[in-house]
């Protein structure tokens, strides 16, 4: 197999996942939180595809496609919520969105 070994791929995937996770945990703007989530998902996708290439199977790639579809749907909902929040002049701060009551 040419190019860098699987360890490099996994390292990049882990780095992406870690960056995303830190973003989710530390940032308070829901837009950034969503963005960080996407980064986490992409890290996971990278790991999946790397293993798929390593083993020559297709399962991982199909799974990655499914994750992308879910991520797209999630962004639609999430962005929709954020737009709605903004329209109602609700502050975009996850720490202040702690009550379920509308």
């Amino acid at each position: 197999m040419n190019g860098p070994g699987i360890a490099w791929y996994l390292a990049v995937a882990g780095f992406l996942f870690g960056t995303g996770a830190l973003g989710v945990l530390l940032r308070r703007n829901p837009l950034i939180v969503l963005l960080s989530l996407e980064i986490m998902l992409n890290g996971a996708n990278l790991a999946l595809i790397s293993f798929a290439r390593l083993h020559g199977g297709h399962d991982g790639q199909i799974f990655a496609l499914a994750v992308m579809a879910v991520a797209a749907s999630e962004v639609v909902v999430g962005l929709g919520l954020i737009v709605a929040l903004n329209r109602k002049r609700i502050p975009l701060d996850v720490d202040r969105l702690s009550s379920l009551r509308g």
Binding site: V24, L25, R28, V33, V94, D95, L97, S98, S99
Partner: protein, 625 residues
């Protein structure tokens, strides 16, 4: 003939249903007319059945008509069927005829009442229930009718539901009757166990003496409760809280005599259990004396008549208990005439005096309402059994029958004769106190003459008809000379005693003398005032407390039950059930409060929790591997 019987049964039911469904779409008086008409249609049906039976020979006078199988369980079947035989036709005629007159009287009596429609719906329901009771072709239907008359009696006693005393009286009547219903049901269970059937025919089967005694005792319990005999008699006087026509129809003419009908209908079982039959007669004799004594001190016009009803039903029980079925039934018929008459005349008096019922405040009404006085006087003569009024013929023949029943019969005979004296005394005491002398100040102030319009007529006409019946009704049968009722009922219930005609004549002479003596004493004390009314403080107190039956039942049944219930409430309900569940609820809520603290609503906390959990899981996974 069968059609007539079905029409008789169903037309009051139809009226009750129509009045209920029509609601305010018919006028109040329209409801009254509907109920009255349905009763008279029923009377027409009864006459048709009667005519149909007359056209047949003695042995064929029994027709059962089944509408459908009402109930079946395993091999047991009961049909919805009616029985048309001499006994049921006799009762149909009384119930629908006298019932029709009394419902017509109610048109006037209940005029302008707030809830007239409800009243007439109940009345029609009662007439239907009573007809179901007497026409039911098996014991199960009889029991259904039995329960339904109890229900309609309850509804009508409590008709003026804003009066607490009326509600209490209604409940008392219902509970006392329920005791009888229960013993009857037990007797029926025994019958089903023995013969797997509740047809009337099953009563004639062979039973061991214990079984027969138990069945008869259960039936007697029902009869005693419904007919207000010892020891379940205390509900009847209180039932006078209902409107007066209700007292006349249910608590004098028809429902309370259902016990007599029951014993006649089920006489084969009583003949197998002679001890229980004797007990019935003895209870009757006891009740007639007891009620006669209590009636002497009552001061409410309706209660005096109620006690006399109990006393007269005592005579009927005495008769049918000894096997003089026709005589008992005959007294039932004449009693329906004159007791309904007395109640309705009393109703006119109560109306004229602005609903006053206390006889101590009455007096001198004879001058003010001579026609009502005449009606009441006729009713009183019939009740005391003065020749030639109705009671003379029927009561004396019961007592004569007792003479033919051996030594026990003689004891009952003596009791009955003493009762005759008491009857004369309390009846004429009532008459003189209400109608005799000069009008009292209360009467002067409150009297207003009966109305002459439709309302007055609807009350006067039934009273007049019943007055005529009370005069001539007794002539149907004069035991020593002619006895069509005995012949009529022969196929249903063969009498066990056949008094010789000297017994009839002797009894009549003595009864007439004693009744007259009672009248004379009443006249001396309450009209002529020749003697002071004697006062015996002790006797007075005992009688005014009705021999302490209410107090006794209160002490024996009511108060222990309340005490037990209170103990249960205090020691079980409160600490265990109420306290236990409260405790459980509190604990759950506390626990929920603890868990709720985890739910901060902060998104980043949740994310951290998830991330750290995953990290821990991953480490554990790797470590274990």
């Amino acid at each position: 003939m069968v059609t007539g019987a079905w029409i008789c049964l169903l037309s009051p039911l139809a009226a009750a249903g129509l009045i209920t469904l029509a609601g305010t779409r018919i006028t109040r008086r329209g409801a009254g007319y509907l109920a009255t008409a349905s009763c008279f249609v029923a009377f027409g049906g009864a006459i048709a059945s009667f005519a149909g039976l007359l056209g047949r020979d003695g042995e064929e006078r029994e027709v059962v008509s089944t509408a459908w199988t009402w109930l079946s369980a395993g091999s047991y079947r009961s049909g919805f069927e009616i029985l048309v035989d001499p006994l049921s036709v006799l009762m149909m005629l009384i119930v629908s005829g006298v019932g029709g007159l009394i419902v017509a009287y109610s048109l006037g009596y209940m005029d302008r009442d707030d809830e007239e429609r409800r009243y007439f719906a109940y009345m029609a329901l009662f007439v239907f229930s009573m007809l179901l009771l007497v026409q039911g072709g098996n014991l199960l239907l009889l029991l259904a009718g039995w329960g339904m008359v109890g229900l309609s009696s309850y509804l009508l006693i409590g008709y003026w539901h804003e009066r607490p005393s009326a509600i209490a009286a209604a409940k008392k009547a219902f509970v006392m009757n329920a005791i009888g219903d229960a013993t009857m049901a037990l007797a029926f269970f025994l019958l089903i166990k023995e013969g797997n059937s509740l047809e009337f025919g099953i009563l004639g089967g062979e039973y061991s003496s214990t079984t027969a005694n138990l069945i008869a005792l259960g039936l007697l319990g029902g009869a005693v409760a419904k007919s207000a005999q010892l020891p379940l008699q205390t509900w009847l006087p209180d039932a006078m809280e209902g409107p007066t026509p209700v007292s006349a129809l249910i608590h004098a003419a028809t429902m309370v005599t259902a016990g007599v009908y029951l014993i006649v209908r089920t006489h084969p079982i009583f003949e197998q259990a002679p001890a229980i039959a004797d007990l019935a007669a003895g209870l009757g004799a006891g009740t007639l004396l007891l009620a006669g004594l209590i009636a002497l001190v009552q001061v409410d016009i309706k209660r005096v008549i109620a006690y006399s009803t109990m006393s007269q039903i005592g005579y009927m029980f005495l008769g049918v208990g000894l096997g003089a079925y026709a005589n008992g039934m005959f007294h039932l018929i004449t009693h329906a005439f004159f007791k309904a008459l007395l109640f309705m005349a009393a109703g006119i008096v109560i109306h004229a005096l602005a609903d006053e019922q206390d006889i101590r405040r009455m007096g001198g009404l004879r001058q003010l309402m001579p026609r009502t006085y005449l009606a009441f006087f006729i009713g009183s003569l019939a009740l005391v059994g003065i020749f030639p009024f109705a009671g003379f013929f029927s009561k004396d023949s019961i007592l004569a029958a007792a003479m033919d029943a051996g030594a026990y019969g003689y004891i009952l005979w003596t009791a009955g004769l003493i009762g005759t004296f008491l009857t004369g005394l309390y009846t004429f005491r009532l008459l003189y106190l209400v109608f005799g002398g000069e009008p009292s100040p209360f009467v002067r102030e409150h009297f207003h003459a009966p109305r002459r319009d439709l309302v007055g007529i609807s009350m006067a006409v039934p009273v007049a008809i019943l007055a005529v019946l009370s005069v001539i009704g007794g002539w149907i049968q004069w035991a020593p000379l002619w006895h069509p009722i005995e012949t009529w009922l022969e196929t249903v219930a063969e009498p066990l005693v056949t008094p010789a005609s000297w017994m009839d004549w002797t009894t009549s002479a003595i009864a007439l003398l004693l009744g007259g003596a009672g009248w004379l004493v009443a006249w001396l004390l309450y009209s002529a005032h020749t003697y002071q009314v004697p006062r015996f403080a002790f006797a007075q107190r005992v009688l005014e407390h009705k021999f302490y039956f209410d107090e006794l039942y209160d002490a024996v049944f009511y108060r222990p039950t309340v005490r037990i219930a209170k103990a249960f409430y205090r020691w079980i309900e409160n600490p265990l059930i109420a306290g236990g569940t409260t405790e459980l609820g509190d604990e759950t809520r506390d626990l929920g409060g603890l868990v709720a603290r985890l739910q901060t609503g902060l998104l980043r906390t949740y994310a951290l929790a998830i991330a750290s959990s995953v990290a821990v899981l991953a480490i554990v996974f790797v470590a274990v591997k």
